[in-house]
Structures are given as structure tokens and as C-alpha cells.
Symmetry: C2
Subunit: 349 residues, 2 copies
């Protein structure tokens, strides 16, 4: 147990916990031999699952908790109950026992407790939810996906900084292309805060490759590596993309089911279908991260299976290894976004 990359785990969150959670850890372990897991949950139930994975057991430290956050619990309630597995798992990051926490439980609760216990990084005004997604030629990161319904220009500029580091660390892109999500390409299009953010990023000393605006239909074709939006807009884009992909999958299935000819042709499509599935497989993109806090808080999909859970664990580990939080701090140390914002404000009015 000498590993010093420690991830704290809420074993009780998600649809089939703790079974899927422990399976996920077991699948993540071989690729991440440097991780140690601090697992919070019902001792008997977790121990029962661990029995199946002897080598995982060696890197797990189990901490018994008595209560669980439920999906219908309100954030205002859960932040007051220290006895839940989720609260305890997050608190381990606050106490510096772990560098990241992962939970498949209630998103609102995870955000609220994380924000309260971990606090935002000194130079960051608002944390954001970020995810890795597939485009035609690779992957991109998008933020904010719903933590902040309304954002000002400073918030958006900060998201650009965090997204930049995220794309470097998690996707290994040397110089990520950063874009602001907007409804037109021209300078004067869209909302004031977006235009203002573009000006701020350009006139700051940030060392990022800012390519301007991106329109939603350009996202899937790899025009940018980092898409920056307020949480409302990001969430709308994300869910529109997911819904459309689901619709087309359903229509293809229906089409094939209703045609005996198509059914006969199905075996021919096997390899082509497999290739598409390998790129677009939603399981490969599990794990929304809550960034901008002193410590990383990761939300796995509640319905994730073991493989999908292990993807979220590995992504979190990648960011921890490269010291994501400290990099954000360093990057922002010499940039005063508030001051730039003021300057632009005076220029405009």
C-alpha cells in the first residue's frame, strides 16, 4: 500500500452499487498500478464484492459508513449529513487523504458537498462540469455542462483555462484549440458575455490557442478540442447530441427489424458496425468531472457498468498524475481576469 495516487470512492452511489463500483475498480487497477483506493460504504456489502478480486483487495482500504445519499435527496439536506458514504469519500479529499473522489450517486448532492468541502481554487470563481466526448476524428472536452446556469465573461474565460489543461492532461493534446460555443461565427454574434469573454481571452496573457467561436453543428467534426459554454447552453448541446444519437440508433434498429432482407444483410455489416460502435460507444465517455475545486470530484453515470466505471477512474487518475489542480493554480497565478474584465468594460462603455 505504498502507492501515493489515492482515489476516494463512494461505493454506495449508482444503480447497482457496490457491485458495479468494485468491478469498476478491479478493471481499472491493472492499467493503473499506482493507484490506492479509499473505499467508503457498507463494510459487509463491500467486503463481499471484494472477495471476487483478490489483487484489488491489496490496494483497497475500506472505511465503513452507515448511511447513503439517495437520488431524491436535496443538496440542502445532504450537505448536513456527515455519515453518508458520499460525504465521507469527498471529505477524504479535503483531509488530503486522497487527490480525487468518484461517485455514481446523486449529481446535485456530489456537486454541493464537493463545493462545500473542497472549496473553489483561489483564482477560480465558479467550478464547472466537464466531460470528454467523441468527434469524428478524435475526442474533445466540453464545459460547463450544467454546474452554472448563468455565467459571465470571467467565468467563461476561466473555463477556457481549465478546459485547456484538461485537454492537455486527459487527451494528451499538446496545444488544444479552444473555442467558445456560439450561434454564429461573426464577431458580433450571440450573447454579450460570450463576445466579452472572447475579448478577454484575446487581450489576456493566457498562452492558449483560442480559435474564436464554434457553432454546435461544427462540434462533431473536430473543429476544436475544447468547447466552452455556460452550463445551460452546454447542457442543452450535450443532451441534444445524446438524444439525436439515441434516436438514430433506435431508427436503424427499427428499420432492420421491420425488413427480413435487412436482417439477412446484417452479418455483412458486422465489422463496419463494430468500428462505429468502437468510436461512439457511450461507455468510453463515462465520467463527468467537477473541476475548479481543490481536488477532483468525478461523477460516474448512475447506470454505468464495471467497464464504464473503470474508464471514469482511469481518466481521473490521469489528471491527478499530472497534477491538474496545481496546474490550474499556476496557470492563473499571473493572470488577473477581473482586471482584464474591468479594462474591457471601460473600453466598451
Amino acid at each position: 500500500m505504498a502507492n501515493n495516487l489515492v482515489i476516494s470512492v463512494d461505493a454506495m452511489g449508482g444503480d447497482k452499487s457496490p457491485r458495479v463500483v468494485i468491478e469498476g475498480l478491479a478493471l481499472a487497477q491493472p492499467q493503473n498500478p499506482d493507484i490506492r483506493f479509499l473505499v467508503f460504504g457498507d463494510e459487509d456489502a463491500v467486503r463481499e464484492e471484494l472477495r471476487r478480486f483478490p489483487s484489488l483487495k491489496k490496494v483497497v482500504e475500506l472505511r465503513h459508513t452507515t448511511e447513503v445519499v439517495h437520488n431524491e435527496d436535496k443538496p440542502s439536506q445532504v450537505i448536513r449529513n456527515k455519515n453518508t458514504s458520499m460525504y465521507q469519500a469527498i471529505d477524504a479529499v479535503r483531509r488530503s487523504e486522497a487527490q480525487a473522489v468518484i461517485s455514481a450517486g446523486n449529481t446535485g448532492a456530489l456537486m454541493a458537498i464537493s463545493k462545500m468541502l473542497l472549496k473553489t481554487i483561489q483564482k477560480i470563481h465558479r467550478p464547472a462540469i466537464v466531460s470528454i466526448m467523441p468527434h469524428r476524428y478524435g475526442r474533445y472536452v466540453m464545459l460547463d455542462l450544467g454546474a452554472n446556469t448563468e455565467c459571465n465573461a470571467v467565468n467563461l474565460a476561466e473555463f477556457a483555462v481549465m478546459g485547456n489543461i484538461m485537454a492537455k492532461h486527459a487527451l494528451g493534446i499538446e496545444r488544444p484549440r479552444i473555442a467558445l460555443l456560439n450561434i454564429g461565427a461573426e464577431e458580433m454574434k450571440g450573447k454579450e458575455e460570450i463576445r466579452h469573454a472572447a475579448q478577454m481571452i484575446r487581450s489576456s496573457s493566457m498562452d492558449i490557442d483560442f480559435i474564436g467561436y464554434i457553432e454546435p453543428h461544427e462540434i462533431p467534426f473536430g473543429k476544436a478540442d475544447v468547447i466552452v459554454a455556460d452550463g445551460f447552453t452546454g447542457n442543452v448541446a450535450l443532451k441534444s447530441i445524446e438524444g439525436t444519437a439515441k434516436l438514430i440508433r433506435a431508427m436503424i434498429k427499427d428499420g432492420i427489424k421491420s425488413s427480413w432482407l435487412a436482417k439477412l444483410g446484417l452479418p455483412f455489416m458486422y465489422f463496419a458496425g463494430k468500428k462505429i460502435a468502437a468510436t461512439m460507444n457511450p461507455k468510453l465517455y463515462n465520467g463527468a468531472m467537477f473541476v475548479g475545486l481543490n481536488g477532483l470530484s468525478v461523477k460516474s453515470h448512475g447506470g454505468a457498468d464495471g467497464f464504464s466505471y473503470s474508464v471514469a477512474v482511469s481518466n481521473a487518475a490521469k489528471l491527478v498524475r499530472q497534477d491538474f489542480v496545481a496546474t490550474i493554480r499556476d496557470e492563473l497565478e499571473h493572470i488577473d481576469l477581473e482586471e482584464i474584465s474591468q479594462d474591457i468594460f471601460y473600453e466598451v462603455y
Copy 2:
């Protein structure tokens, strides 16, 4: 030429005008024997195209114009030039010579001139862009798709009224289910103006089937017949949907191209593929309408072909026949949204 459903046409807008425009009118005519067309454009060029369609010629009145709105022209310029085919075509609606105008030209210009000449219906504060789109089990209308970047609750409630009438008239749905686009289902989710609009619609005497909020991933599965959003959000959802559909089409093509086995299987997929294409074919959904003005202003896609253009013409004709504009006026006559808005405001604060 006794037909009294008159549609005014900007023959010079769009990528391959006036050829595609005239083809579109010719294709729309058999299904719409009650229409007469007032066609504005270069006399020689249009007459040349009309030669191919003798029966169309009988219902076309050609008016020569000397200038054309270009794609790069600014709205502020085009509203001052009365000599363009677009300006003249819209002005025919203002002079009550036509009930609707259609153009495949510059969207911003069409909106600006339409707004200036046709003026918003007395009880409407902001016109909106609306389109008909496919979901898994049928069709829905969505508005605003980009006319208004920011909207207040009154604007959204007015969009609900217009969308309701649009779904009745253009889709033939007797009692359309109306929903506000939001990022959660719970009462308190999302932006203030959306929550406020929900309250307004519920406490008004509007006779509509308001079903509350809809999330973007639910849109493709037919949960609502009318989706109401501000223009920024609606545009983001629309373009995210279009981009994702385009990505998946591209990936399927790539997958099949790169596998000789899949190519062999292709003939088996013919009928299933045709069925999907028949539902999702973007040509079937051409024509964004600019509603809330005294007269209907229709934008065809600039790259539309003749068939696709004819769809936009037929949709516009349907709305005119059922007196769309007058119905909006009637529906709003006895409802004072401003007053309801004030009441809710006093209740909340």
C-alpha cells in the same frame, strides 16, 4: 388568375436562383392549385426558367427587379435598398398583394426587411423563427430558432401561443402538447425566465395543453408537439441535432466504405435505409418561418433543390389557408400577458 391565395416570391435568393426557385414553384403547384405567385426578379432570367413550365406560367405574375441582396450584405444596408427582389417581394405582403413571402436568400436581411415592412402583430412583442422537424413518431415545431438571442417570460409565452397555432395548422394536431425547453424536469430547474413563463402560461386563460418542461434529449422521442425556447437556446439545440445527424451519416458511410463485406451487404439494407431516409430526409423539413408579423415570411434553405423548395411553399400555403396571422390575433385578443406577468412578479417579490 382568379386564385386568391397569393404567395410572393424572391426569385433571386439562394445558391442556384432563379432556376431552383422556379422548379420549386412548379413542383408545389399541382398540390396547391389555389395559389397564385407574384415573382420578383430579373425578368429575362426568370422568363427563361418559366419556359420549361407552361402550366406554372399561367399562375405567375412576373415583376422585374434590378438588384439582388447578397449573402454578405448587412441588414442595416438592405433595409434601405428598395430595388432588390427581396425587398419588393416582402413589400407585396405589406401592400396586401400577397399573404406570404418566400426567399432562399440572406436570412438576416429577410428578417430585418420583414420586421420593418410587415411589423409585429399588435399583441406580439417579438417575432420568432419556427421550423417543422421530425421526431421518432411524427413531427414537431420548435421556436424560436434564432430571431431573439435573449427572451423574457412574456416572449416565451407568446411563442407558446404561436407554436400552438402552427402545430394545429401546419401539422394538423388537434391539441398540441406544448413544452418549454429546459435542462431539468423539476419546477425550480433552469433559468428564471423559463420558470416565470411556465407560471404565466399556467395562470393565463390560454386554452393550450401545456405539459411543462422538456429536456433536449427527450425532443426526438415525441414527448411534445411544440418546443418553446429563446432564440439562442433553440438555435443551439437545432444545430446540435443537425450536426449529430450529419456525423452519424458520415460515420456510417465511412464504415461501409472501409469494409468490402459491408459493401456486399448494402443491397440487403436498401428498403430499411429507404424507410429511415423517408422519415429523416432534411429536404422534407425545409422552410423556417418568421412568425408574429402581419404576414408570413418564409426562409428556404439557400442550398435547397426544387423539391425541397416546394415543401417550404406548401407549408406556407397551409398556414395562409387557415389564416394563421388572424388566428394569432384572435387567440391573444382576450389575454393580457403583460398583466399576468406583472401579477406573477408581485407574487414572487
